[in-house]
Amino acid sequence: MYAESAWFDPNRFPGRKWGGWPDHKSVLEHYGIPTTFWTHALAQNPHRPANVSRLEVIADALHPSRRGHEVCAYFLVELMLAERKRLEQLPAAERAQLAVQAATLPTTYAQKVGGTSLFEKLLDILEPPLTHVDFTDNKCWMDSRCSLTWRRLFPRLLDSAKGEATPAAEPRWEWTMLRKSAQGRYEETAWHNAPRLAQAADKWGFMARVTGATFATQLNISRVLRVGYLRSYSGDANVSVRMECDGHEAQLFTLSRRWEVNASIYASETLRLVKEEAGAGAAPAHPNIWSVTFTLLPGASSSFTLYSLTSA
């Protein structure tokens, strides 16, 4: 099921109210995913002004209040009740058919709307990764069995636990926790000083604060490296990504923390080793081990936070 809870502040985002719905709608309809769009429903209520409803169910600029969460739960129950009524009215044979249908999928939506090229792009992102590192998964990082591969790729990430402190003068990346304070500001804490009691809203990431902070790792890459990182409207921080492999031309990319949008959120950027014109499906014959180096460039007024690395 999907619950669509976006109800943006019309003053903050003029002309844009419904979050990801315009993109979600066609996809969810195509695959038949039961969905409640409860915020939109409240705005349609002819007996109650939308701004009055909004005040009740939204706590701040965009997050539902405690009351809003209860309202969302109510609409989810209502949706299930309506579907139960439909199910009860069906003849037994049709109900049995539904059970079979439940386990199947229609043709991909990408094929339907975009043909082969979009389908290839979909396959591209559905392909199982060659390497995947998730800096947000603190639970896995703290479990040596779970994070065995990650620890091999980033042997210095947990240095402080082993007492292998690096020279103070050497700028470095640090695994860091961001936690929102009661005043609504995010506070950064290095992992070894982070409170042991985790909170669901904590944000973990691999962070560079000082110009020149560098880390290098070896990743198995065939065509692309997808980098998940924090983009924000506040603070400048650019990072260079240098990728080198024997027998291949070195590749250089730049990632920017700042964007024009008034939001701080996980964003994903695809660094392609293969030129687009070669076709999405084109790839070198074999995956190779690439040496990848991330460096915080001069001029940073803020930190740069890396969330994930995924190669394919």
């Binding site: 999907y2 706590a59 669901a200």
Partner: protein, 217 residues
Amino acid sequence: MYHRPVTRFPAYMAPHSQSPLGSHQQALDFFGLKHSVIDAHNPLPNVVMDAAHAVHAGWALSRLAPVLTKLNGSSADCCLHIMTLGGSVMCGVGHPTGWQQIKAFNSPWFPSKWKRSFDSISPGINHTWANALVEYLDSRSSSCCPAGHRLRNMCQAGVATSFYVQTFEARVLRAFREDPADLVIVDIATNDVTPFFYPFQEADMSILWPTALTRRL
């Protein structure tokens, strides 16, 4: 504050049901409050309910059929394992400013039983809609699920659909293998405003990320 006239319930809305899913009336009683967006004992107009059921019937009914069958009231074991994916909304984040708190406290819908504090407006991880849904189901399934329905909230603040696609094997699939879920509910629209937030990115990706997550689930 507007008061709607009392509406007679349609025949299919049984005032009481023994099913763990209950009836419309029971859901209203559980969640409803006077002077609220859900006005207890008065069903919302059809136009609202139609808008709320954004995708339903057909394929959608087939997706829900196994869960509805489990909750049909005749199963000996109706316990559900619900898994949720989402961003800060799913984590219960919400930080009202001073004037937002004052407006809320002075509203007629604000429950008198709630302490007039920041905590009573800001949900927190223990008062998300997923918790409320499980509380409702628990309140109705003491006989077929005495231990209570289970919830695994896999929220990650500040992430969009692309995050769950890229970490699917490591996060979602791993969790599924540990403990398969009967029902997965995704709430990520707030962070997934791709054409608006990412005008400089590949336009196709705003469709491809939700497509990829839907297919994987």
